[in-house]
C-alpha cells in the first residue's frame, strides 16, 4: 500500500544507495520469488535456496554504497544468484553430473560469447519462474517489469549492435527455446532487440 511499489527499479536503487530501508524491503518483495524459485530449481534443496537468497540480500544491503547498480538492478541480482548457485555446485563436488556436463559444453561451438545476450538469456530464464506462481503473487513482479521496461532498460537494449549479436541470439534461442515456451521466448526476443 506504500508508494514504493510504484517506483521503478532505477528509483528504488537510488533510494537503496542512500540507505532507505523501505526501498530495500520493496526490492526484496519484488525479486524474492524469481530468485528463490530459480535457486530452488537449480539446487533442489529448500534450505540451501533459502540461505543463498538471504545471503544475497544481506550482501546487497551491506554493499549498497559500493555496488554500481544504477542501470541494472535485475542484472545484478540475477548474476548474484547464479554465482551463488555455481559456488554451491563447486563445493558439492558430488554433483558430478552437472559438473561433467561443463566439460562437453566447452567443446561445442554454440557458446554465447556476447555477454549482453547471456545476461538477457539469464534474465528470461529466471523471470519465467514467475509463471509457477498463482496469479495474485505474480502481480507485484509483472507490474514492476512493465515500469522497468518502459524506462531505462529499453535505452540499454537499443545500444546493442545488431550485426554482432545476431549469431549469438540464435545460439541463445536454440538453448532456451525448449525450456521457455513460446511466450517467454518472445519476451526474450523483445529483451534483446
Amino acid at each position: 500500500m506504500k508508494a514504493y511499489s510504484t517506483l521503478s527499479d532505477v528509483e528504488l536503487t537510488d533510494l537503496l544507495m542512500s540507505g532507505d530501508q523501505g526501498a530495500f524491503t520493496e526490492i526484496y518483495t519484488r525479486y524474492k520469488w524469481v530468485l528463490f524459485l530459480h535457486a530452488l530449481k537449480r539446487l533442489g534443496d529448500r534450505e540451501q535456496a533459502k540461505d543463498i537468497v538471504q545471503e544475497l540480500f544481506t550482501t546487497l544491503w551491506d554493499r549498497r554504497t559500493e555496488l554500481d547498480l544504477r542501470s541494472h538492478l535485475s542484472g545484478y541480482l540475477y548474476a548474484a544468484i547464479r554465482n551463488r548457485v555455481i559456488k554451491i555446485f563447486t563445493h558439492q563436488r558430488v554433483v558430478t553430473g552437472y559438473i561433467a556436463s561443463l566439460g562437453t559444453a566447452i567443446h561445442e561451438d554454440d557458446c554465447i560469447t556476447d555477454h549482453k545476450v547471456r545476461q538477457s538469456s539469464l534474465a528470461a530464464l529466471i523471470e519465467k519462474e514467475i509463471n509457477e506462481l498463482p496469479e495474485k503473487m505474480r502481480e507485484v513482479f509483472v507490474l514492476s517489469r512493465k515500469h522497468h521496461l518502459s524506462n531505462k532498460e529499453i535505452a540499454l537494449k537499443l545500444s546493442i549492435k545488431e550485426s554482432t549479436v545476431k549469431r549469438q541470439v540464435s545460439n541463445a534461442l536454440k538453448i532456451l527455446r525448449t525450456k521457455l515456451g513460446l511466450f517467454v521466448w518472445l519476451m526474450l526476443l523483445l529483451r534483446i532487440f
Binding site: Q21, F36, T58, I86, I99, A100, S101, L133, I175
Partner: protein
C-alpha cells in the same frame, strides 16, 4: 578437461578470475542446466520467504542498542534485598532512597476503571463490591474478580438492545478486563476505552480507543468488528492486540492467533482494501497508509501479562508508556537522544526503579508533582 579442472574453472569463475572465453563457457553451460521439479507447496515456500524477510528486517535496523536486561536483574536483586531487609528491620515501614523522596510517591497503576451504562449512570468498577453490579432486562453484569467484569444472560430482544451501549474507561494508571455478552474477552490497558452494545446485533461491533487485547469467540456467521481511529479490524477467529492511542504516531494491530482482516477507517468495508493478517504479522496505519510486517507478538502483548517490553524503543516511546501507567505528564529538555532500549520490566515496579534503569543510559529525570522532566 577432467572434473578436477572443471572445479578449478568454476572456482576461478566465482572468484572473478576467469578469462572472457571461460566466462562465456561457464555462463552458457549454466543456461543449459536441467531444472529440478518443484516439490514444495507455495504455502511452504511463502513461509520460507517470510522468514527470510523477518531476518532481513532485523538485519537492516540501525545498530545502536542498549540492553537493560542485566540492569533489570541487578535492580530487581537490589530491590528484593532492600525490601527484605526493610521488612525485617522496620516491619511495614516503606523503603526510602534518595530518589524515593520524589519518585517513590508515584506508584504503578492497577485495576481501575469506570463503567458507563446505557442510561448514562457511571459506576466505579474499582470501588464496586464483588458480585452483581447491575441487572437489566434479564442480563446481569458481575464483578467476577478484582479487575474483571462479565456480562451474563441474554438481554431481551437483541436488535432493540443493540442500540443500548455501555462503555468501560480506564484512567491513566488503570487496566480492566471484560467478558462481553458473546463470551469474547477483552483486556483494556491504561488510558483506554471500549464501547459495545449490551446485546450484539447482526455484527458484533465494538469501538476502542487506546490499547486492548482481544480473545474473540469465533462465529463465522456473526462477524466481530473492532473500530479504532485509523483501522477497522474484522475477526476470522482470533486473539489480537490493538494499539490505537491518540498520542502514538501510528495505530497497530498485531495478530497472535487465527486471522483478521484490517481496513483503513472510513473505507467502504464491502469494497475497501482488506489486508488479511496471519499470526505474527502487524498492520501499522500511519497517515492513512497501512503497512504489514512481521513482528514479535510477545512484545505487543507483554503489557497484558504485566510487563513493559521494549524492543529497540526510543526514550520518547518509552515515556509515553510510562506516562500512561504511572499517570505522569512528560516534558523534555535538551536535544533528543538516539539511544534505543531493549528489555523487560514488570509493570508493578516502582517508578524510581524504572528510572534507575533508564538513567544508566545517561538520561536524567526530575519530578515535580505529576510532571516528569527528561533531560538528555
Amino acid at each position: 578437461m577432467d572434473n578436477q579442472e572443471i572445479i578449478k574453472l568454476l572456482e576461478r569463475y566465482y572468484l572473478g578470475q576467469c578469462t572472457e572465453q571461460e566466462k562465456a563457457w561457464v555462463e552458457t553451460w549454466y543456461l543449459k542446466q536441467p531444472e529440478k521439479p518443484l516439490n514444495h507447496s507455495i504455502e511452504e515456500l511463502t513461509k520460507d520467504l517470510d522468514e527470510v524477510e523477518q531476518h532481513l528486517i532485523h538485519y537492516i535496523r540501525p545498530a545502536k542498542r542498549i540492553s537493560i536486561w542485566p540492569r533489570v536483574a541487578v535492580a530487581a536483586a537490589v530491590l528484593f534485598a532492600f525490601i527484605a531487609g526493610a521488612y525485617f528491620l522496620f516491619q511495614r515501614q516503606a523503603p526510602k532512597t534518595i530518589r524515593d523522596q520524589t519518585a517513590g510517591v508515584i506508584t504503578p497503576g492497577g485495576n481501575k476503571a469506570t463503567l458507563k451504562l446505557a442510561d448514562g449512570q457511571q459506576i466505579s468498577l474499582t470501588d464496586a463490591a464483588m458480585g452483581t453490579i447491575s441487572e437489566k432486562g434479564g442480563q446481569t453484569i458481575k464483578k467476577t474478580s478484582d479487575g474483571t467484569i462479565a456480562y451474563q444472560g441474554n438481554s431481551s430482544s437483541g436488535e432493540a438492545r443493540a442500540q443500548a451501549f455501555n462503555t468501560i474507561t480506564t484512567p491513566r494508571g488503570g487496566q480492566w478486563s471484560v467478558v462481553l455478552p458473546d463470551g469474547t474477552k477483552v483486556k483494556l490497558d491504561a488510558a483506554s476505552s471500549i464501547t459495545y452494545p449490551v446485546s450484539f446485533g447482526k455484527v458484533r461491533q465494538v469501538e476502542v480507543a487506546g490499547q486492548a487485547y482481544f480473545e474473540v469467540v469465533h462465529n463465522a456467521s456473526w462477524p466481530f468488528r473492532v473500530t479504532t481511529k485509523d483501522q477497522v479490524i474484522e475477526d476470522i477467529g482470533t486473539a489480537f492486540n490493538v494499539n490505537a492511542y491518540g498520542d502514538e504516531p501510528a495505530t497497530k494491530t498485531v495478530l497472535v492467533e487465527g486471522a483478521v482482516d484490517v481496513f483503513n477507517s472510513g473505507a467502504d468495508l464491502s469494497k475497501g482494501t482488506r489486508l488479511r493478517l496471519k499470526p505474527g504479522l502487524q498492520a501499522l496505519t500511519q497517515n492513512h497508509q497501512t503497512t504489514v510486517s512481521a513482528v514479535n507478538t510477545g512484545d505487543a502483548i507483554a503489557w497484558k501479562d504485566g510487563y513493559f517490553r521494549f524492543s529497540d524503543e526510543n526514550i520518547e516511546s518509552i515515556m509515553r508508556k510510562l506516562s500512561r501507567w504511572y499517570d505522569l505528564d512528560v516534558e523534555y529538555q535538551g536535544n533528543s537522544s538516539q539511544v534505543s532500549f531493549n528489555g523487560e520490566i514488570p509493570r508493578n515496579t516502582s517508578l524510581s526503579e524504572v528510572l534507575k534503569v533508564l538513567e544508566a543510559a545517561k538520561i536524567h529525570f526530575s519530578i515535580e508533582g505529576k510532571k516528569i522532566i527528561v533531560k538528555y
